[in-house]
């Protein structure tokens, strides 16, 4: 009987190990790539798609981040070094719309307080006009807030599923922010209610890391 009990305990332990292992599952972390031309600068290339196309929720919106080998990784966790300038290039493939709170159309926390949208420098985007704002990158701890302009959802070359390629309709937005002098894990999220089909647009992808919720891990 003792042996039975011990083996039962071992079995329970294994099951627990499996369950907690499952719960620990995290999207992978991608490191920003050190710039070859400028000191204290890293480059980060991200794309955001209307439908990520893979994983358990292929039709959710989500981000891809380019890793050092130049491959697109579906994640929102980025590792960046402290005391450096992060030069971000966002390739935006999703359609846009008005913001729930138009305040998030304002750019802040970037170098110069501006972003470069398709070659034009802007500091405020009005989501109620044109294609509207597709997503925002807001990291409150870094005081970073960047709205990302949407593309025309009716365009013939609108990207249906990710990862999207350069031939499909997209906007290019670049900006630079400073990673600060402290090591910390900063959360970042989107302030567009882009969890379509969920109340207030804030469920689903908005509430899941790897889609619209992520971390900037600032490390030494």
């Amino acid at each position: 009987m003792g042996i039975v009990l011990v083996s039962a305990a071992a079995a329970v332990g294994l099951i627990l190990f499996g369950i907690f292992g499952y719960l620990r599952t995290y999207p992978p972390t991608v490191s920003a790539v050190a710039s070859s031309t400028q000191p204290n600068t890293v480059n980060l290339t991200m794309q955001v798609d209307g439908a990520v196309g893979t994983g358990p929720h292929p039709n959710w919106v989500g981000w891809y981040i380019k890793n050092g080998a130049g491959k697109w990784v579906r994640t929102t966790l980025v590792q960046i070094p402290e005391r450096s300038y992060v030069h971000v290039t966002v390739l935006e493939y999703d359609s846009g719309g008005p913001l729930r709170n138009e305040y998030w159309g304002k750019v802040s926390g970037t170098v110069g307080g501006v972003v470069n949208l398709n070659g034009k420098s802007v500091s405020v985007l009005n989501g109620a006009t044109g294609n509207g704002i597709a997503h925002t990158i807001v990291a409150p701890g870094l005081n970073l807030a960047v709205p990302v302009w949407g593309v025309n959802g009716q365009a013939s070359n609108f990207c249906q599923t990710g990862p999207c390629g350069p031939s499909e309709a997209h906007n290019v937005e670049t900006f630079t922010f400073y990673s600060g002098a402290t090591t910390h894990t900063y959360r970042w999220q989107c302030f567009i209610p882009c969890g379509v089909g969920y109340l207030n647009g804030n469920g689903g992808p908005m509430s899941a890391t790897g889609y619209m919720a992520g971390f900037f891990k600032v490390v030494a």
């Binding site: 009987m1 039709n59 894990t185 089909g197 109340l199 207030n200 509430s207 919720a213």
Partner: protein, 649 residues
């Protein structure tokens, strides 16, 4: 009183006519846990198919990537399948068809297998409940360790933030909904008939069903973790809960199943205690546990339907997109807060009252004295239960809803301290000049009073609006209700299990291990939750995964204590399992020298408890009396029954 309800006479037992060769296949036709799982799976699959057939084309389904109609339908059909597989519907269907179903044969000897079946024997259901509740408690407790692990660091994250919130919600919901039955289930079902001199519970089928609701409820709730969980915590505040994914529907359905279980169990409990008391078991002689459980049962009957209502409204808002809990379309998020707490506040007393009843029941045995102020004790419980319906708004002091009514709810909440104080009066009086035996159950009982004192006095802080402005929603509140629920209810249960194992299983638990596990549990429990009061006062809100760096050391202390607490509880459980399965040290028939009627039948408890309905002669608490005489006449003559019952039948 004391209605005799033996099976219809003249119906033959079927056992003689069955071939022995069928023994192996028989379980698959009589219904058990495994057939229920199969039935549940079939129902689930059908519901899922139906849901997809109905709603897979809805815009909202396509956009969100999941079909809530299918989630609800699959769970509902799964439950129907579960009960069909379990054989729960055989009896009513046979009755509908005009057949006379056979009562299953009862036996005195317990088998391991019958605990996996749909049994209507109150002793089997009691044991099923006991192990079910222990399992639920341990799983939920393990999740608590997951929470504490995350809080080791203010910045480094063990879990993804959504996983952390899911674990918090899962822990809270599982504890709060399952533990409502941790006393009424095992102790109520097993002991109440023995205590009041009945051969059975009033409604054996309701009894069985009330247990078998808890199993799918637990499984569904746990399965939410695989479906993205629910991020709204155990309180499920709308509109956050309307925003959630499929895990939120699991919460909705699981909680509703548990609510049904509570209602059925309470109907059974009230009916049994009112109608099935043996002759001479007057209200003034009733064991205090019976008082506690009937009070609890009435409170459940009045409060739980409100929860079901709320969950139903939530289900409608989620599955068919009504807007009753959503301000944007004319609903109100206050509605859910009201419905939920109108259940939720009585509920926390549903957790506390049975704990107190059990504690007060066992205390005289170890103090070797009659209960001090017996009537005050019953009045205290009735008072708490009654007042508990008038305090729910104290959860909403900061909500801005009815701000002008806050003085009233502050008053009603603080009034509850009066009947709660009665229970302290009773305990303190009972201990005075006793011959206190510090055996393991008594240690747990004394710890109940130490722990609940912390929970009780901090309750005054929470009820006082000006101080609640500081502590509302912080770890202070969290520590408060862990002291009142875990520190009180669970300690009482540990005492009760230890105390009743000889009656339930005829064996004794290991005293040395029991003492060691008690001290580990008691010290680490206090060392876990006392610092949490400070953490809350210093500004840490509940359910956060990031907190102020200056609070890191306190949080780490708490986490380490929580691990030790987990180890202590594990030790207690190992002691239980080991005693039952390996050592099986036989116990003397009444090891605690209790005078309770439940101990008079001996182990193993006869299949019908009492051969004849006993005649109760006195209260079960005649400790210290020189010649107390027997508590009951177990073999009463016909005249005696007539005399005691006063000829009113």
């Amino acid at each position: 009183m004391a209605v005799e309800m033996t099976p219809v006479s003249g119906v033959k037992s079927p056992s003689g006519s069955r071939a022995d060769g069928l023994k192996f296949v028989k379980p698959w036709f009589t219904g058990n846990f495994f057939t229920a799982l199969i039935g549940g799976a079939i129902g689930y699959a059908f519901g899922h198919w139906l849901g997809n057939a109905i709603a897979s084309g809805y815009t909202v389904t396509i956009n969100s990537g999941y079909n809530d109609v299918a989630t609800y339908l699959s769970l509902l059909f799964g439950i129907v399948g579960w009960f069909v597989g379990l054989g729960a519907l055989n009896y009513p269907i046979q009755k509908l068809l005009g057949l006379e179903p056979l009562e299953p044969a009862k036996s005195e000897k317990r088998t391991f297998w019958e605990h996996w079946t749909y049994s209507t024997d109150h002793k089997v259901v009691g044991v099923q409940y006991l192990f079910g509740m222990l399992l639920y408690f341990l799983v939920a407790g393990l999740l608590a360790l997951g929470i504490r692990t995350e809080l080791l660091s203010p910045t480094y994250h063990i879990w993804a933030p959504e996983t952390y919130i899911e674990i918090v919600g899962e822990h809270g919901t599982m504890m709060m909904m399952m533990m409502t039955s941790v006393v009424m289930g095992p102790f109520g079902n097993f002991l109440i008939p023995l205590m009041i001199g009945s051969k059975k519970m009033a409604f054996p089928r309701l009894e069985a069903v009330s247990f078998w609701f808890t199993v799918p409820s637990f499984l569904i709730l746990l399965s939410a973790l695989w479906q993205g969980g629910f991020q709204s915590g155990w309180t499920g505040y709308a509109p956050l809960s309307i925003q959630g994914g499929p895990g939120q529907s699991d919460y909705d359905v699981a909680f509703m199943l548990m609510a049904f279980s509570m209602i059925l169990a309470s109907i059974n409990m009230t009916a049994t205690i009112i109608n099935y008391r043996a002759p001479g078991m007057r209200w003034s002689r009733m064991p205090i546990l019976a008082w506690g459980l009937i009070t609890t049962a009435f409170t459940m009957l009045l409060s739980v339907p409100v929860l079901i209502d709320g969950l139903y409204v939530m289900g409608l808002d989620r599955a068919v997109r009504t807007a009753m809990l959503y301000a944007g379309h004319g609903g109100s998020s206050f509605l859910w807060e009201n419905l939920f707490w109108f259940f939720g506040h009585p509920e926390v007393y549903l957790l506390a009252l049975p704990g107190f009843a059990l504690t007060t029941e066992l205390l005289p045995v170890f103090a070797r004295k009659p209960i001090f102020a017996y009537k005050t004790s019953a009045a205290g419980m009735i008072g708490v239960a009654t007042l508990s319906f008038f305090v729910w708004q104290h959860h909403l002091f900061m909500s801005g809803m009815n701000p002008d009514m806050r003085p009233l709810f502050m008053l009603t909440t603080e009034l509850i301290s009066i009947p709660t104080g009665f229970l302290y009066l009773v305990a303190m009086g009972t201990l005075w000049k006793g011959k206190i035996r510090l055996e393991v159950p008594m240690l747990f009982l004394l710890a109940v009073f130490w722990n609940f004192l912390w929970g009780g006095v901090t309750g005054v802080y929470n009820s006082d609006v000006p101080v609640d402005a500081l502590v509302h929603g912080s770890f202070f509140v969290m520590a408060h209700f862990h002291f009142t629920i875990m520190g009180q209810l669970m300690f009482a249960v540990f005492a009760g299990v230890y105390y009743y194992v000889p009656l339930l299983f005829g064996v004794k638990m290991n005293d040395k291990l029991g003492k060691i596990s008690f001290w580990i549990i008691f010290i680490s429990f206090n060392s876990t939750f006392l610092p949490l009061f400070m953490i809350g006062l210093l500004g840490q809100p509940r359910r956060v995964f990031e907190y102020a760096v200056r609070l890191q050391h306190l949080n780490q202390w708490v986490t380490v204590s929580a691990y030790v607490l987990g180890f202590g509880i594990l030790l207690y459980v190992i002691n239980l399992v080991w005693s039952l399965a390996v050592t099986r040290t036989p116990s003397e028939p009444n090891p605690w020298e209790s005078q309770g009627l439940e101990w008079q039948v001996g182990y193993p408890v006869p299949k019908d408890n009492f051969e004849k309905i006993p005649v109760v002669l006195r209260s079960p608490y005649y400790y210290g009396y020189e010649n107390p005489g027997p508590i009951a006449d177990l073999d009463p003559s016909a005249e005696r029954v007539a005399v005691v019952s006063g000829g009113d039948e």
